[in-house]
């Protein structure tokens, strides 16, 4: 039975974690995502589900607690906002290198530096191109509603375990703070130790005399063996690119122009489409749901059909680079964005389309 709730995006993440059967949450408060930890503390899931909720002493501690929990085959997560996520990059690289699953939520605020607490999407490069060192990727999901904040917790864990790789929910201050209607699921039980032991031979679940040692590490001093690790990880990424690209298309059938936008920018673009179409501009929206793997193929196909694309992001222009790569200079592609915590108005987006793409040379 589905229950309807009115919730903030942040609260939806916390509620989803409890109901999905997550084993552990480790985090440190930071605006604009503190309601996640607050909601978890208020709900106190431990007596109900056995889920551990712990406020760590720092973001560095949080991500390393996640590393430890993940090594045991547990479903563990952390959440933070931009400066805190920067602190976690070393840990994320280690977790990716050790091929462990986990979920990290970034409710992005304006940067660089401590920046502002207002919404931003300026962490696209960090999230999709590897914020830490080494050849690794995060599987990055971009929710654009409170319902998706809820749903993508489960999806993020499923993908993380499918590829044994960290997954990230890349949200922003708007999606974290806005309240919308959410359908919540019934409580699912956490995985039992027996289930983990049976399903994940890579997990450190206690030494069995009939099996070799399980050693979780991202250290491999033998170059030949390290290259094999890299090849295995890359093969996994190619599989993910083949099987798990997700996107949404709105009003693309008759479109002459396309907005490419994710998260709250995609919501603003939906309003801009209503306004643009009232003026007779045939414009649609391609909304990447996975930012990595990026919906390159569909953008390539669309580039044969439309006259131009406008990447709308609350940044100085980051995702636009992937749009240009996908469309191979076949059509005009420009970026429009505001930054520093300013949210572009739908009217500004329509004007940008008119001046940069339709009227632009």
């Amino acid at each position: 039975m589905k229950e309807l709730r009115l919730m903030k995006g942040n609260e939806a993440v916390a509620e989803a974690a409890i109901r999905f059967g997550v084993d552990g949450y480790f985090g440190y408060p930071i605006t604009p995502q503190s309601e996640i930890l607050e909601h978890l503390m208020a709900e106190n899931p431990y007596p109900k589900t056995g889920m551990v909720v712990l406020q760590a002493e720092s973001e560095v501690a949080s991500i390393n607690m996640v590393y430890g929990g993940a090594a045991c085959g547990k479903r563990v997560m952390t959440t933070s906002s931009s400066p805190g996520i920067s602190l976690m990059q070393e840990g994320l690289s280690y977790i990716a290198g050790a091929e462990l699953p986990c979920l990290v939520v970034n409710v992005v605020r304006g940067g660089p530096g401590l920046g502002t607490i207002q919404p931003s999407q300026a962490d696209y490069f960090q999230s999709t191109k590897g914020g830490g060192h080494g050849d690794y990727r995060l599987i990055v999901l971009a929710p654009s509603s409170v319902q998706e904040m809820y749903d993508f917790v489960g999806l993020g864990f499923d993908l993380a375990f499918k590829y044994r790789n960290p997954a990230m929910l890349l949200a922003d201050g708007v999606i974290g703070q806005v309240m919308e209607k959410v359908e919540v699921d019934d409580y699912k039980p956490r995985w039992t130790d027996e289930y983990i032991k049976k399903s994940f031979p890579w997990a450190t679940t206690g030494k069995n005399p009939n099996q070799p040692h399980v050693i979780v590490t991202s250290l491999e001093l033998d170059s030949a063996r390290q290259e094999q690790v890299n090849l295995r990880i890359q093969a996994k990424y190619r599989e993910c690119e083949k099987n798990d690209v997700r996107f949404e298309m709105l009003h693309c059938d008759d479109a002459e122009y396309i907005f490419v936008a994710y998260g709250s920018s995609a919501r603003i673009c939906q309003k801009a489409i209503e306004m643009g179409r009232e003026k007779g501009i045939k414009v649609g929206l391609l909304r990447p749901i996975t930012l990595w793997p990026f919906p390159t193929q569909i953008l390539r196909e669309l580039s044969y059909k439309v006259k131009g694309m406008l990447a709308v992001e609350m940044s100085a222009g980051q995702m636009v680079e992937d749009v240009i790569l996908a469309t191979e200079n076949r059509i005009k592609v420009e970026h429009f964005g505001r930054f520093g915590g300013i949210i572009p108005s739908p009217q500004e987006v329509v004007t940008a389309l008119e001046t940069k793409i339709i009227g632009g040379k």
Partner: protein, 183 residues
Amino acid sequence: MTEEIIIAGFGGQGVLSMGKILAYSGVMQNKEVSWMPSYGPEMRGGTSNVTVIISDTRISSPVLSSFDTAIILNQQSLDKFEKAVKPGGMLLYDPNGITHHPTRKDINIYQIAATDKAAEIGIAKLFNMIVLGGFLKYKPIVADEFIHKGLEKSLPARHHKLIPDNEKAIKIGMEIVKPYHVI
């Protein structure tokens, strides 16, 4: 039907909770809703505002720059949001503390002396519900029974005994709201 509303005033006036009760009432009536607060430095002492959207169809942007209705509870907010009301839209304000009254001629403007009334009958905490009543008189976008359910959902159970008082304050608001300039 889509109603795009900004509610703006001082922190502590109940701006956010008024919006939440309205939004939850919308959910109860099976509408699509969105409630987007200002959460920036301004909420740490100073002005506070919330954008509430209630619609029969999927809501696009939760962040807006023009509104069908502005509910205004202080001078700074009036200065900021009077110009953001769509032509033909509605501006509802409490004249308490207002020295520069609204001047637009292309919108419907209503006054509600909620601060005075709340003080007079000793229900200062229900000030925001009086204002909500004023709004609902002219824009009955959610029915009374769903307002009741919205109150049940948005107030913690220990405060449910106060629901009749909240509903009474809404009734009072409907009685005392009056036109200031109507097109």
